[in-house]
Subunit: 129 residues, 6 copies
Amino acid sequence: MPQPIEYADASPAVRAVFDDIKATRKVADVNNFWKYLAHDEATLARTWQSVKAIMAPGALDARTKEMIYLAVSVTNGCAYCIASHGAAARKAGMSEAMFGELMAVVGMANETNRLANGYRVPVDQGFEW
Amino acid sequence: MPQPIEYADASPAVRAVFDDIKATRKVADVNNFWKYLAHDEATLARTWQSVKAIMAPGALDARTKEMIYLAVSVTNGCAYCIASHGAAARKAGMSEAMFGELMAVVGMANETNRLANGYRVPVDQGFEW
Amino acid sequence: MPQPIEYADASPAVRAVFDDIKATRKVADVNNFWKYLAHDEATLARTWQSVKAIMAPGALDARTKEMIYLAVSVTNGCAYCIASHGAAARKAGMSEAMFGELMAVVGMANETNRLANGYRVPVDQGFEW
Amino acid sequence: MPQPIEYADASPAVRAVFDDIKATRKVADVNNFWKYLAHDEATLARTWQSVKAIMAPGALDARTKEMIYLAVSVTNGCAYCIASHGAAARKAGMSEAMFGELMAVVGMANETNRLANGYRVPVDQGFEW
Amino acid sequence: MPQPIEYADASPAVRAVFDDIKATRKVADVNNFWKYLAHDEATLARTWQSVKAIMAPGALDARTKEMIYLAVSVTNGCAYCIASHGAAARKAGMSEAMFGELMAVVGMANETNRLANGYRVPVDQGFEW
Amino acid sequence: MPQPIEYADASPAVRAVFDDIKATRKVADVNNFWKYLAHDEATLARTWQSVKAIMAPGALDARTKEMIYLAVSVTNGCAYCIASHGAAARKAGMSEAMFGELMAVVGMANETNRLANGYRVPVDQGFEW
């Protein structure tokens, strides 16, 4: 069965990615996600480059981005991602009160998405921007 | 086939909910979603009460809440909800730059959720708060 | 682009399946679903045999089975299936009051499924049967 | 990490909700779901009020409602909810024969939803009620 | 709680299905999936007949079919199925390099599906065959 | 409302991406997907770079990769993606017979994923590689 690839056992290409993750996130070691993804060096590199670019603060700050990531992970039911991004969002400043409100929105959105489906609601003409 | 229930044809109970939606959102008419949900007065009332409470600004502001709602709707592929909450999020202050960043995060999260699934990544001991 | 296969243009194998659907459901023509699926005769035959067996009344009556089918279709957001099974469930005796209650349950279940995900709730020891 | 909130450690507001759940369901203690949700008192109260109203017998009896809830939870793959609502549905009278038929319908619906997607089946004009 | 039904304890009808699975797949015992499904003999038989027909080599070879099965299972996040079909795909000839490429495609497809949703992209006229 | 960005109206950065898509895919114009994504130049560039790398033939050929992409899109119910990748897969050599077999596998996988969920099947010790 595949084992996580630890820094000590990693190829130079993988270590380069791990080093960049650790420097960017200011952590001593990378998460399991990266250690398993390292089995495919191209996917590891491409995924990290994308995540690094996408999660950098911009029009939205890092905390908002992590909360959106968490909202998607909760919707999809990915247990690893819920744990991982729950930790990351809190590290970026999400308080428990913010988490509670995020969960309430995620729950309600998943509910009303289905109400809209089942009642076959047509898109209003008035939704313009 | 069910038709949307317009204010003019609505029962007093439905009108009461429509009035509260219009007053809270400062709009002249309610969205199609509420006009179709009005076929079940109990669900209409309960859903509005929940949405009203959940979407009010709190630890998270209204714009952040609308963006989370949009992120879930995009993940689930609900066309009505994407249009509706895209409009609501913009009304609450989401710029096109913010929208682009939200979409990048939503896309990436849906990708990495599946990478975590497929590589069967175990939750790190270190995810604590 | 693929066109629906009408009875008049269908092969004997397809007509045999269409005849059985019409006789079982007491209808004059089959739904579009079967007309498109007819492009793959093996899948058409296998799917109809399964649906016929599964949807026949048993420990659960036909109306309950159609409502479960509708609940899944609403959850998945399949517009064709929501229309198709909404019609079938009503034909099997689902009233608008029943539909409203079904929608309320489907909405709530989709909400609490995500609350359970996000709050990482462990399965209670006490769930036994 | 968040711990479940037990009755003995709960605030008066949380205890009030727990008392109502126990009285309504005729149980000695609430499920883990409520103990974790109790970290957000507003969401706990609102969720219980909604579940209580929605799951009460009406046009559909309690057993049918629990089976719909289970069907959605199976579709979404929520392990907690499958265990929880599997227990609740059996407590409401779902036999193993009914469970088997429910699972057969849920499986088939998830299959044909995708067949309809992939074959791009247009909604029949004839679906009216 | 339901226990898996082992061959030694199985009814003749179940044993017949187990025998066919073992002969077709050239294995000494069936997977847990079949042992649990055996609680519903009709569903066990029907599911095995469908899987046997669908997964037999045809226009697509067995390895391609197992990889498609794995791609769907990863998308849906079914842990059992990811393990089961990961093993089956490798047994059918999927190398680790193929697995890495499959995962990259599955991840990307889940990302761009949501980009298409959120950007509300209309279907091009030019998609014809 | 956002309009698709046509080549004639595109910025140099967008035109560079469009040129690369057209050269790689040997087409005269890009799909709507890219014309809408062009509203966010960074996401357009990053998405194309990823797709280009991921979909190039490797251990898996292009046709297999497009079929996996189609299988995911059908599972998720993205209408745009089903049309787009249905066309791409056929262009890469997927025959109608192959499409029928792909659909049968996708349907069955979505069914058995839920059977595994609902029957709470534990992962076999024997799944190793």
